[in-house]
Symmetry: C2
Subunit: 389 residues, 2 copies
């Protein structure tokens, strides 16, 4: 039996002096957590490490006041897989959520996710294998054999005279080996955004390599105006044109816009996602689901969402999680999802991958390091050292 003997958490500031249509990411934080066990490998305790994705906030309060005490107070049998005796992610999640009511899937979903994902890192390290292999085994899937497609987020608004331009930003990403690029819209009037789309297309080559992201900003008239104006460009997808919970408008857009729509990064539970596919007009074989395990109770809940989607005729190739980092790379590879996001250079120390994961021809494959391989990421190393010190 492997026991969790301590749980550590550290709030890490996100290095992201960038803005999208809605949010300035300065001040955003992430919770880095460690499940410390009594198992020993190479003379050191085995520690499960993870974090609650990027783009929202660290959850120190909910972790310290509610969830960590519950997990530390649990009996080992409540947490352990009966066959291996190791802490099991779904059980860690269930214990972390004891006495939590249904509904209200917000910040606590990120707090719980950090713990649940750390249990996956732990399980992979106990098995001595990369997390994507543990994930494939756990869900009865073949081991990942092909690298994962990776596309870039970014495409920011750059202030005139700042020395940065959209063209230069995307050229830099293309030079790094990327072939498919996402850019922000909605932070400027439509005509200016269309000019920016054309500027980006000149680098991307054609619409199948360009996505646009409105970050949930538009009201109905603006969303319809953008959808109409963008249709001729045949973009790879149009992301979050409206409020993430406005399923009626999402369905109306799906009727009017022939191209792919993407949404879901701001839905944090399986019940919310069921409402998206029941009422949001999402189209099998076309639209993109962007739920992020690190914001939505972790991989256990994410797998429920996938199972619900496949039960409704959607394909897991339509699942492209928000959040470009090592945890989601292993999840995309292990579950055979559509693609992985990357934000080269920003959202440090969490954003991006490690040097051991080589990007080639716009694809990437996780390294063989045990777990999610967070220890291999140089920007994360000092924070992990601080967490464990």
């Amino acid at each position: 039996m492997v026991r969790i003997v301590d749980i550590l958490e550290l709030t890490v500031p996100l290095d992201a002096a960038v803005a999208n249509a809605v949010v300035n990411f300065n001040g955003h934080t992430v919770s880095l957590v460690a499940l410390v066990t009594d198992a020993v490998r190479d003379g050191r305790p085995v520690v499960g490490l993870a974090f609650n994705s990027i783009g929202r906030y660290g959850q120190s309060g909910i972790l310290r006041e509610r969830m960590i005490p519950r997990v530390l107070a649990a009996l080992p049998d409540d947490l352990a897989d009966p066959t291996t005796g190791w802490p099991e992610p779904a059980r860690v999640l269930a214990v972390a959520l004891r006495n939590e009511k249904p509904g209200g899937h917000g910040d606590r979903a990120g707090a719980a996710a950090a713990l649940e994902l750390a249990a996956w890192d732990l399980r992979a390290k106990l098995a001595g294998e990369p997390a994507h292999a543990t994930i494939s085994h756990a869900f009865g899937l073949p081991l990942a054999s092909r690298p994962v497609e990776v596309y870039t987020g970014g495409g920011y608004y750059h202030a005139p005279g700042s020395g940065h331009t959209l063209t230069r930003e995307l050229q830099g990403l293309r030079d790094m080996g990327f072939r498919s690029f996402k850019m922000k819209i909605g932070g400027a009037p439509l005509a200016e955004d269309l000019r920016r789309v054309e500027e980006a297309l000149a680098v991307a080559g054609d619409g199948s390599r360009l996505m646009v992201d409105a970050n949930g900003r538009f009201d109905r008239n603006t969303a319809l105006a953008y959808a109409n104006a963008l249709a001729p460009y045949a973009l790879r997808w149009l992301e979050e044109p409206c409020d993430p919970l406005d399923f009626a408008l999402q369905a109306e857009l799906a009727l009017r816009y022939g191209g792919a729509l993407a949404t879901g990064e701001n839905l944090f539970s399986a019940p919310d996602v069921r409402n998206l596919f029941k009422f949001g007009g999402m189209r099998p074989g076309l639209d993109i689901f962007q739920m992020d395990p690190g914001l939505s109770y972790g991989l256990t809940e994410y797998a429920r969402m996938l199972s619900d989607l496949e039960g409704q005729g959607f394909s897991r190739a339509q699942a492209v999680p928000h959040g470009g980092h090592l945890v989601n790379l292993h999840i995309v590879a292990g579950l055979g999802l559509g693609a992985c996001e990357a934000y080269p250079g920003v959202f440090q120390p969490f954003g991006g991958f490690s040097p051991a994961c080589r990007i080639e021809d716009a694809t990437i494959f996780p390294s063989d390091a045990p777990g999610f391989g967070l220890e291999e990421k140089p920007q994360l190393a000092p924070w992990i050292a601080q967490l464990l010190s």
Copy 2:
């Protein structure tokens, strides 16, 4: 100009050794907050006081790490009503939510609500009037002239041999002047719950004075079985028969169950509530909406929900907020809503009202104390003293 010069918050444990079908309330907490201003009345600074309702958790982390710093860093003009120069609840809310993304309406909605409601208490105290009057004025409504109907929550499961029974519990509430009673279901098999319903009916008199609450526990088959079995009793309402986000099942139940259904206490935003009335089959003139301002960004957002509901043909008499306490009493009176909940004796120090609010013939009217009158509640007084010390 009245300036907010400090914001205090204190996590207060809820005294509630009771359980519903899903949750044991031991360990639940509430955030008590104070907006301290530079205005002086009777030689003391005017302080706006409120809390984030009961039934979920205190939000110390989100308040301290995100929202309080934003409000304290705001310019006075960002917070002030330009006509009065006083901090304005909707502006306090907007500043508290700066840089928060759309979607994910969970714990942060409670944190923001505590601040927003404290701004209402402050505004009422600056005007020298009870909060219900300030609320009526603010929304262009006539001043409350009639007392508010009050019904009891409770109807718990009592362990055999504990000396407590459902009959004795409801008789005690009846002796206190209450006439309409809510009881828990779903914590026992259907046959046993029906026996309990009949036990409760013997005290309540008839079904129009009894409500049952499943706390979002049932799957489809169980929900339909309970709905069928309960229909003959013609109860006042059947509350949260299914997951609060399962709008499809809610709509199916509305088609099959002729009586009133109640839900909404676990929906924390106007977009969530719009989905409930668009997709959940709620019936004008019949079903009950139980959203709780203290869990859902405060009164500003609650008023948006009400306006959306009335725009769809629902009546504000159908709005009966979750949470029986002074804040919601003033909101029910000020906005002319359907009824107010009470949990006599439990959920202290927040649950229930103050001795100055007399319960008579199952109705209640707020006292004339300025603001929400929290200072008049003896159980709260020591916590308020600790918060301000």
